[in-house]
């Protein structure tokens, strides 16, 4: 019990302390050391959540409630279960990769970048840990505000444009989510998870007005979270924001923000209201359309980061399909795919940063044959591509298998078939990317090219090792989940 409480305390306290140190240091010292200092937050988070996972295995429980008593009454409640710990681990891992990339790609304003990054981390951790729908909304806004400014802070013309488009879509999403919350509040009288869950059972019953309000609330909240996830038809902000942001910020956005802000919201609302008829079908439809549309658009792009961004849209569709089944197997597949997507998407954006740093361009038509000069980048890109396409023994194969199995078990074999066939599209657009950038003849202008060094190289190596290890160790992970009683 103690270790989990420390985990919760640390993931909130450490980023805030680092922010405080950042603010208090004199300007020159802050500029030089803030990124180095920022490494502490994700490292502590990874260690703490790993310790929490170990403790859960020992205690063979998978839910904990933590209450801190301040001024008498029980005032602050957090809940941790094994899925939250996995998500917290993902947050730590992606943030670590992002800081390693930022070390190279963020030459100025490092102190401001580190400060906003700490706020983003606190926002995401908060979203995963709270037990109240309204607090979820508050931390969602924190994540949103930090993301807008991170995209815009380097003041490039495309950066400001991408940030503004993201802001407009995100505010629309907030309005919809908040209206949905107001309607739920009308029905249930409280927005805490335990009370909403209890009332959710009683709702399928009473007369027409209540049901109409519930459906309106659900439609609004699904639309709102779909905007945050970047699912079709609300995906228009995603490629622009990813392309125009500094690549370290793209790693963060695609690697973890769209998942915590969007997918975790879906997990919460399907947890309470998934039994309403029609919700599952809606999620499955949104998921399928996202997979297909994302893949088709990715085939047409020639900007490295845009291809990867559309690939994110496509993969979010897979996760939504896993959630739409409503079964534990589907949820497990979805969370596993969140973890895998965090690794391979971060790898791909790190590769984009490496290629840009060394060659100065993102246009795949101008690149070619880089594998001879940049072997580490090329191999990590290959590993990420095979994991995305779901080729064994890489990790992506297992999570896609779980999702398709869950779909099959619930009888949605049409969606399972579409998901399988869409894997071909995934392989197609990534093969095109690999071929154009890394394989083929080395162009003359790249004769002097060298491999990227420093923290970016280590980030690629670390992420590739995680992808391969997760793929090889997945059966053991399944046994772990069985041991604690989930499966």
């Amino acid at each position: 019990m103690q270790v989990i409480e420390y985990t919760t305390l640390l993931v909130f306290a450490v980023p805030l302390v680092i922010l405080l140190i950042n603010i208090l240091l004199p300007r020159q010292l802050a500029e030089k050391s803030s990124i180095g200092l920022a490494y502490l937050a994700p490292l502590v988070q990874i260690v703490a959540t790993a310790a929490g996972l170990v403790q859960i295995a020992q205690l063979k429980q998978h839910e904990f409630a933590i209450s801190w008593n301040l001024a008498g009454a029980v005032s602050v409640r957090f809940a941790v279960n094994v899925f939250s710990l996995v998500l917290l681990f993902c947050i730590g891992m992606v943030t670590l990769a992002a800081i390693m990339v930022a070390n190279r790609t963020v030459p100025q304003k490092r102190a401001g970048f580190a400060g906003l990054l700490m706020m983003l981390i606190v926002g995401m951790n908060g979203m995963v840990l709270v037990t109240d729908l309204f607090s979820l909304y508050v931390f969602l806004e924190i994540v949103g505000i930090s993301s807008f400014v991170l995209i815009a802070m380097f003041k490039s013309d495309t950066g400001l444009e991408g940030a503004f488009k993201y802001l407009v879509m995100s505010v629309l999403a907030s309005i919809m989510i908040l209206t949905g919350l107001a309607f739920v509040f009308m029905q249930t009288g409280s927005l805490q998870y335990d009370q909403v869950g209890a009332a959710g059972g009683a709702l399928v019953g009473p007369g027409a007005p209540h049901l109409a309000l519930m459906y309106t609330a659900m439609a609004l909240m699904i639309a709102g979270f779909a905007i945050k996830t970047g699912a079709v038809p609300f995906h228009s902000w995603l490629p622009d924001a990813h392309q125009s942001a500094n690549t370290a910020v793209s790693v963060l956005l695609s690697g973890i923000v769209i998942k915590i802000a969007g997918i975790y919201g879906f997990i919460v609302i399907t947890n309470f209201f998934g039994r309403l008829p029609g919700i599952d079908l809606t999620l499955a439809l949104i998921g399928t359309v996202s997979i297909v549309v994302g893949a088709l658009f990715a085939l047409r792009q020639s900007h490295f980061k845009r291809i990867v961004a559309y690939s994110s849209v496509s993969q979010m569709g897979y996760i939504l399909l896993g959630l739409s089944t409503g079964s534990v197997l589907g949820l497990l597949g979805a969370v596993a795919h969140v973890f895998n997507h965090a690794t391979f998407k971060s790898t791909l954006f790190t590769n984009a940063a490496a290629v840009h740093e060394q060659t100065g361009t993102y246009d795949i038509n101008e690149l070619g044959g880089l594998e001879k000069k940049m072997p580490v980048t090329s191999f990590s890109s290959l590993a990420a591509f095979m994991s995305t396409a779901g080729i064994p023994p890489f990790a992506g194969f297992w999570s896609k298998l779980l999702i398709i199995m869950a779909l099959w078990n619930s009888g949605d074999w049409v969606f399972a078939a579409i998901a399988l066939i869409a894997s071909i599209f995934t392989a197609a657009y990534f093969l095109r990317l690999q071929r154009k950038v890394f394989f083929g003849k080395l162009l003359d202008k790249f004769a002097q090219l060298t491999e990227i060094g420093g923290s970016v190289k280590w980030a690629q190596i670390m992420l590739t090792v995680v992808t391969i290890a997760a793929g090889l160790l997945f059966p053991f992970a399944l046994r772990y989940f069985g041991g604690i009683g989930i499966l």
Binding site: G72, G112, V138, F139, P209
Partner: protein
């Protein structure tokens, strides 16, 4: 009491439409402040005293000030809006859209005889507002602190002139 609420609702809707459709950005901001004031009165009449005070001071006050400073910093002239941005033409369809939506909504409500549950008299709350705000919703208060901190970092990141 109900009559006053209806009047304020109508005024709020009118101020909202004015805020969208007025040609001068400055007058739009003032119409927005008027809508906030009407909302504050409605909140007070519905029994939410503290929210009304907050809404009045922050939305009708602070946001209007932020807006007017943005307008003056960007030198937006009174004549720009209709001329350069074709604003009047773009927004002209708004009253028609609203009337259509209003008619659709009224028809839906009448056809399905949809009725919100009647107001329950205020449950004898074991907790007053003070207890709920500072004790039960402490997570939200920490969230607000972090939001304001983020806002401060934002201002530093975005508003500084190039060095």
């Amino acid at each position: 009491m109900e009559a006053v609420i209806y009047i304020c609702l109508g005024l709020m809707l009118i101020f909202g439409i004015l805020a969208v459709m007025l040609r001068s950005l400055l007058k739009s901001a003032i119409a927005l402040a008027g809508a906030s004031a009407m909302l504050a009165i409605i909140m007070y009449l519905l029994g939410s005293v503290w929210a009304g005070i907050f809404e009045l001071s922050v939305c009708a006050g602070l946001i209007t000030v932020v807006f007017i400073s943005a307008i003056s910093l960007s030198n937006t002239d009174k004549e720009d809006l209709p001329r350069l941005y074709e604003d009047a033409k773009r927004m002209a369809a708004l009253p028609a859209v609203l009337i259509i939506c209003g008619v659709i909504l009224i028809l839906i409500v009448a056809k399905t005889s949809f009725m919100l549950p009647a107001a329950v008299p205020a449950v004898e709350m074991a907790d007053t507002f003070r207890e709920i705000f500072w004790n039960q919703r402490q997570v939200d208060i920490w969230g607000q602190v972090i939001v304001v901190l983020t806002g401060a970092l934002t201002v530093v990141a975005l508003f500084k002139e190039r060095e």
